[in-house]
Every structure is written in structure tokens, then in C-alpha cells.
């Protein structure tokens, strides 16, 4: 089976993803328990305070997780990308079930039992420790159980902000339309959730057997070990990555970006002694941009047209040189340095199925206008929003579709087109799926789409600290043309090769990129 093969071939990475996933969930739920149980006790003892606390937690719970991750990216200290922000989100989601079950566990204690404790001269703390918490324990464990199972699921989404874990496979698989890779992440995540459910369910049943006997000491020791482990785990996840000799390389969440990120990473690893941290498959442009501004990301590859319109909100310009100049100076004034273009132009292309192209004899976007009123379009959310996207396109060509375009994840549009759920999509010129799914790129005969030259963008501060990076990255200057990029994308999306492998063989194929040659 391909799936098992995939796991075996990537076993170290796979193991790392599982451990990271587990660590994220355990740390987040652990901290949530450490905060949520006391808050639950407070809410129970002071209902006037407790109502609002639970209310706030309730509202937090209703925020979709992806939106929450998005919110957090630009927030300093707690936000950004990576494990820290993921921990915050997972923590917030875990808080409510734990608080709720703590309150309901405490409420379920029969009044005479509590009253007996008070009448015997227990202080509030003694009552809590000896009577209330032990009796509420099964209920609290039930809350931990819900929080953990939900956490395992939510943690897969944390991969969108570079926290790693099993979600990374899911996102990568969705991006390259590869169900094996999706399953490689989804199956272990599901198994993890089931195991957590089973284990905590068992603990819950054990705790509700009315018995505490004298294993108090053992329990206390276990608790100390657990707390120590938790602090260690959280510390490891939160340890600031701002190590002088480290560079964080990011990428957006589609195949080409992951390959380019990997390419930069391998090159820097080969040419310098810096340790490279890969935060690939992060999310869309906005995620990378905010992460970079927040200092969480040092380097990634952007496209000039995207930077001009989506990041710097300037009007579309068609002249490639002019675009480069403007983008470069905009980056320079915001603490980044745009380096030399890699060579290829990944502009938007309007794609249709080859069979439609043949049957209707369409080869340009102008031809499409005639048939568009009977066609359905599906576009990525970014394309619908941006200035050089949908609105400009229909204005420039006078396009009209059968219905308003469907907004979907960019990486899903290809599959939607191939499966005839939509008839027109906007894709990337270098996408390997174009060949795989037998799609045709229509000519932009009115030259609507601006240039999208791929350019490495690096934080100027990082560049000043590690000036050698300029030389290293410039090795790639003009080194990749459209067809080479398409080929690498094809290897990933169609031949199912790993980015690591693709990049190594690309470097091997191009000896001119070797250091010796370059230095000469």
C-alpha cells in the first residue's frame, strides 16, 4: 500500500509529526486544566463572577479555529506563527469544557456532604482538597476527555500557522491533491483521538468507582511527575527560536512554494553553517506577510504581482521592471529586502478542461466570454478579493458567468475543475496539476494579469546579521525558468515525489548552481 510505504519512507518525519502533535495537545490541555479547574472552582463559589467567565469561554468556543489562528497571527507576544500561537488557540478551546465540567462536578455534590465538611471545621481549602475535588474528579476527567479529543482535531488545523504536527500532511495532501498524503496525517490523528478518548474514558470510570483508599501517595507522585513533564513540554514548545545562528524559512500552502522553500533551505544548509528551520506550508500570503512583519519568519519566496497588489495595495501595473522597482522599494521601507528574481513568472492563468477547449475551440480569454454565461467559475478566496483578481478580470474582458463564482480553497479548484463541479478556474502558470489533470491555460490576450516574478524576500535585519545570505540566495538568481518550475511541480503533484527529493535532484541536475562553479 502506498500509505504504509509513505509512512515508512518518511518515518522520522512522521514520528516527529506525531510527537509534535501529541506535545501540542498535551501541553495545551494540561495548561487549560491548570487554569480551567481553578476558574471552575471560582465560578462555582462565586456564581456572579462565574456566569461571565463561562459566557466568555462560550463565545471563544464558537469562533472557528481557522479564524482564531488568523486573528492571532498579527498579535505580538501571544500570536504569530508556530507552536506558541497554536498552543494559545488549543488552550482557549480546551478551557471551556474543563471549566464547565468542573462546575457541574462541583454542583453534583450533595449538599449534606459539603455541609458535613464545613460543620466538621474544614477550611475552604481543606473542603476543596478533601471533599469537593475528589468528588468532582470523574466529571473533571470527562471534561479533559472532551478537551483532548477536540484538541487532537483542532491541532491538525494548527499546521496552517506552521505549528507542525499531523495537520501538515493533511494540508500538504490537499495542496497537491494527493489523498495518500492526506490520509497519512488524518488516520494517525483519528487514531490518536480515539486512543485519548478510550484512555480518559477508562480513567473517568475508575475515578467514579467510589474509592480513594491509600494510593494517595502514588497519585501525588504521579501528579508531580505530570506537572514537571508538562512544564518541560510547554517550555520546549515555547522556547524562543530567536537564535542568532538560525534562519526561519517559510512558504505559502501550495506545492511550488513548498518546493521553493525547501530549495532555499537546502542551499543555505549547504552553503552556510546556519541552522535552518522550515516553516513550510504555512497558509496564504497574509499569513506569511504578517509572520514576517512579526519577526517569526526570516525568508520566503513571494511573487512581485502579489506583493504589489495584495501586500502593498497598489494598483496593477503591467510592466515587469516597474513592478520590480516598486515592490523592492516598498519592501525596503518595511524592513525587508527583496532579492533578485528566481527567473520564472508564475502569473495567474485562466484554466478550463482540455475537452471543453477542443469542443468549443477556445484558446484565449476573449474567446471564453462567448461561452462563459453557461459556465460556472470557482476561484480561491484570494483571487476573489484582490485587485488584480476576479473583479478586474471580468471588467477587462466583459466576462459574465452563469452564477456568481464559487469561493473555494485554491488547491481544491483544480480538482473541482477536473471533476466538472466548475468549468473555469484561475490557476498558477507553473502548476504541475495543469498537465496532470489535462487542463488548458487560456491566453491572456488583453494582457490583464500583471507579472508575478518569483522573488526571495528576506528580513533586512536577518540579512544584516548574516550578510553571506545575499551571496547564497543569489546563486538562484535567474536559475529557474517557467518550464523548470513546472517540471518540479509536476514531480511533486503527479509523480508524488517529496519536495526534499525534488530539490536534491534539481540541484544535481544543475551543476552550475554548485558552490565551486559559482565562486569561480
Amino acid at each position: 500500500m502506498r500509505l504504509i510505504e509513505f509512512w515508512l519512507n518518511n518515518r522520522l518525519e512522521f514520528l516527529d509529526a506525531i510527537l509534535r502533535h501529541l506535545a501540542l495537545v498535551v501541553a495545551a490541555v494540561g495548561v487549560a486544566a491548570a487554569v480551567g479547574v481553578p476558574l471552575g472552582v471560582l465560578a462555582h463559589r462565586r456564581p456572579r463572577l462565574g456566569g461571565p467567565i463561562i459566557g466568555i469561554a462560550n463565545v471563544v468556543q464558537t469562533i472557528p479555529s481557522l479564524a482564531m489562528f488568523g486573528f492571532l497571527i498579527p498579535i505580538p507576544l501571544i500570536g504569530g506563527i508556530g507552536a506558541r500561537a497554536a498552543l494559545i488557540v488549543l488552550f482557549l478551546y480546551a478551557l471551556l469544557p474543563i471549566m464547565r465540567t468542573t462546575v457541574s462536578g462541583l454542583k453534583s455534590i450533595e449538599p449534606p456532604v459539603r455541609e458535613a465538611g464545613v460543620a466538621m471545621g474544614m477550611t475552604g481549602w481543606q473542603l476543596l482538597k478533601l471533599v469537593e475535588l475528589p468528588l468532582a474528579r470523574p466529571s473533571i476527567i470527562a471534561g479533559l476527555r472532551v478537551a483532548t479529543v477536540v484538541g487532537v482535531g483542532t491541532a491538525t488545523i494548527a499546521a496552517a500557522i506552521g505549528a507542525g504536527g499531523l495537520g501538515e500532511y493533511i494540508f500538504r495532501g490537499v495542496a497537491s491533491v494527493d489523498s495518500t498524503v492526506i490520509l497519512a496525517g488524518a488516520i494517525p490523528a483519528a487514531v490518536m483521538a480515539l486512543l485519548a478518548d478510550f484512555t480518559l474514558g477508562w480513567m473517568e470510570r475508575r475515578a467514579s468507582v467510589r474509592r480513594s483508599g491509600d494510593h494517595g501517595i502514588l497519585f501525588r507522585r504521579l501528579a508531580i511527575v505530570a506537572v514537571a513533564g508538562l512544564i518541560l513540554l510547554t517550555g520546549l514548545l515555547l522556547w524562543p527560536d530567536r537564535d542568532e545562528g538560525r534562519i526561519v524559512i517559510g512558504s505559502k500552502n501550495f506545492t511550488e512554494q513548498v518546493i521553493l522553500g525547501e530549495l532555499l533551505a537546502q542551499l543555505i544548509e549547504r552553503e552556510t553553517s546556519l541552522s535552518v528551520e522550515r516553516r513550510l506550508n504555512l497558509g496564504d500570503t497574509l499569513v506569511c506577510e504578517t509572520a514576517m512583519r512579526a519577526g517569526d519568519l526570516d525568508l520566503y519566496v513571494e511573487y512581485t504581482g502579489t506583493a504589489l497588489t495584495a501586500i502593498f495595495k497598489q494598483a496593477v501595473i503591467l510592466d515587469s521592471e516597474e513592478v520590480n522597482r516598486r515592490v523592492s522599494s516598498s519592501y525596503a521601507s518595511t524592513g525587508r529586502t527583496m532579492l533578485e528574481p528566481l527567473g520564472f513568472n508564475n502569473t495567474y492563468v485562466i484554466l478550463i478542461r482540455r475537452e471543453d477547449a477542443r469542443r468549443l475551440k477556445i484558446s484565449t480569454i476573449s474567446h471564453l466570454t462567448k461561452f462563459a454565461p453557461k459556465m460556472v467559475a470557482g476561484f480561491g478566496a484570494a483571487f476573489l478579493d484582490r485587485e488584480d483578481g476576479y473583479q478586474g478580470l471580468i471588467n477587462a474582458y466583459g466576462l459574465r458567468f452563469a452564477e456568481p463564482p464559487r469561493a473555494m480553497d485554491l488547491s481544491l479548484t483544480y480538482r473541482a475543475l477536473a471533476e466538472k463541479q466548475v468549468d473555469v478556474i484561475a490557476g498558477d502558470a507553473t502548476n504541475g496539476l495543469i498537465a496532470k489533470l489535462d487542463l488548458v491555460a487560456l491566453e491572456d490576450d488583453r494582457r490583464y494579469f500583471p507579472p508575478y516574478m518569483a522573488v526571495p524576500v528576506i528580513r533586512t535585519e536577518t540579512l544584516n546579521r548574516q550578510p553571506e545570505l545575499r551571496r547564497v540566495i543569489s546563486i538562484l538568481s535567474g536559475a529557474i525558468d517557467d518550464s523548470q518550475m513546472q517540471r518540479m511541480n509536476y514531480e511533486a503533484d503527479v509523480e508524488r515525489k517529496e519536495p526534499r527529493e525534488i530539490v536534491s535532484s534539481f540541484l544535481a541536475r544543475h551543476p552550475e548552481l554548485n558552490r565551486e562553479r559559482h565562486l569561480n
Binding site: V113, L130, S212
Partner: protein
């Protein structure tokens, strides 16, 4: 300590927050070593009186004096550990063994393990439960009567001079209750506590008390030895006596 009453109510008034007045100018002195049985209908403030003694409640007016000191001047924790409390619902801790239930207050008082162990066995024996058999059982494994015995044992664990009992045998069947009454006298003859016991059952009050108080409209309608209670002209006392004539005549041996 001086030879004053163990507990004294001085013109105590109490009203449930937002609810009815339960005690009005209530006065009563309880002597050391006596068993005062208080009878009254539901809502006449029987439980309130007990809760005022161990400062689960504070009076709106007047003073409750325990061993010469107003409950306001007592540290509530010290006061409560000084007073055993037996409740109708018993309120045993369901997650603790019988032994640990009995040992709670000694443990709070930081007794040594050996001393706790010895005392636990001693009070279990006192209430007629074999420690070997019952020490490691859990409350849900016991019958109602056995649980009530544990409740008494727990209240006696640190040997407090005062014992409060709130309908202690109310939930038991008549035979078990009669047995518990006999046990009560046996135990009291050994421990000699000051006991305040409230009940709505005149028969039980007569069976347990060395003195009887009848509560009505927030005051004591009568306070006398069981044999003399029938002399009271108070209508409320008559109501109680009328309800249980045969017990008054035949209930005591």
C-alpha cells in the same frame, strides 16, 4: 472552665435571608452533660438553632454563647472542631472508606497516624461497628443504620465536649430507630457529652432527652424534664402530646 452552662442563647433572633423569621428573642441555657431534646414542627427553626451553635449561621440579634464565649468571638474552625455534628442525611464522604471518614477531623487536627488508627477503632467499637469488618468499607456498602452509626462515630472522633444531632435517626425504620435509641443511651453513659438533639418526633425526644424543649413561633413553648412536660398548658405542647399519647405512656421503660 467555669461552671456556667455549656451553651446559652441570649435573646437570639434569626431570619433566613429574604425569608421568614425563625427565631424571635430566643432564650435557652443548656447545662453541661445534659441531653436537650428540641421538638418542633418543620420550619420552627430546629436546625437553625444547631447551626447557630457551631456558627454555620450568625444571629441577627442577641448572642449565642458556647463555653462562656460568644460564637462571634470563636474562630469558626476551632469552634466547629470542638463540636460534633450528626446530620439526618449523615453526609458521609462517599469517596472515603469508613475508617477515613471517621478520621477526618483527627487528620485535620494533625494527629499522628498511630493515634488516629487507635481512636478510629475505639469510636467504631463504641458505636457497635467492628473495626476489622467496617474500617475499609465504603459508605454505599452499609445499611442506613450502620451509616448513622458511622456518623455518630465521626462526630465523636476528636472527643468534642458538645454534640449536635439533627434528626439523627429520622430516616431509619422504627425497629432500627428503637435500637439506635438504646445505643444512644449506652454511648452517652460512656462519653457524657453535652448534647443538643432536634427532632419532629415527640416520642424520640422523650426517649433521648434529659430535658425537653418544645418550639413554636420562634420561641420555647415549654422546657421541662420529660416526666413534667405533660404539665405544660401550652397548646403547642398539647398538640404534640396528643399526636403521640401511647408513646408517652408506654414508650419509656
Amino acid at each position: 472552665m467555669s461552671e456556667g452552662p455549656a451553651i446559652e442563647f441570649e435573646n437570639v433572633s434569626y431570619r433566613h435571608p429574604g425569608g421568614p423569621r425563625v427565631l424571635v428573642d430566643f432564650c435557652c441555657a443548656i447545662a453541661r452533660g445534659e441531653t436537650l431534646a428540641l421538638v418542633g414542627r418543620s420550619g420552627t427553626g430546629k436546625t437553625t438553632i444547631l447551626r447557630l451553635i457551631n456558627r454555620l449561621l450568625l444571629p441577627d440579634a442577641g448572642r449565642v454563647i458556647v463555653e462562656g464565649r460568644s460564637t462571634l468571638d470563636w474562630d469558626p474552625i476551632r469552634l466547629r472542631r470542638h463540636i460534633g455534628y450528626v446530620m439526618q442525611e449523615v453526609g458521609l464522604f462517599p469517596h472515603m472508606s469508613i475508617g477515613r471518614n471517621v478520621a477526618v477531623v483527627p487528620q485535620l487536627e494533625d494527629w499522628s497516624t498511630d493515634r488516629i488508627r487507635a481512636r478510629t477503632d475505639e469510636v467504631l467499637n463504641l458505636v457497635g461497628l467492628d473495626p476489622e469488618t467496617y474500617r475499609d468499607r465504603f459508605p454505599h456498602e452499609l445499611s442506613g443504620g450502620q451509616r448513622q452509626r458511622v456518623g455518630v462515630a465521626r462526630a465523636l472522633a476528636v472527643d468534642p465536649p458538645i454534640l449536635l444531632m439533627d434528626e439523627p435517626f429520622g430516616a431509619l425504620d422504627p425497629l432500627t430507630r428503637a435500637e439506635m435509641h438504646r445505643e444512644f443511651h449506652r454511648i452517652q453513659s460512656q462519653v457524657q457529652k453535652t448534647i443538643v438533639c432536634v427532632t419532629h418526633d415527640m416520642g424520640e425526644a422523650v426517649a433521648l432527652g434529659t430535658r425537653l424543649g418544645v418550639l413554636a413561633q420562634g420561641r420555647l413553648a415549654a422546657l421541662a424534664a420529660p416526666a413534667e412536660i405533660a404539665d405544660s398548658k401550652d397548646p403547642e405542647v398539647q398538640v404534640f402530646l396528643d399526636a403521640l399519647p401511647h408513646l408517652v405512656n408506654t414508650g419509656r421503660s
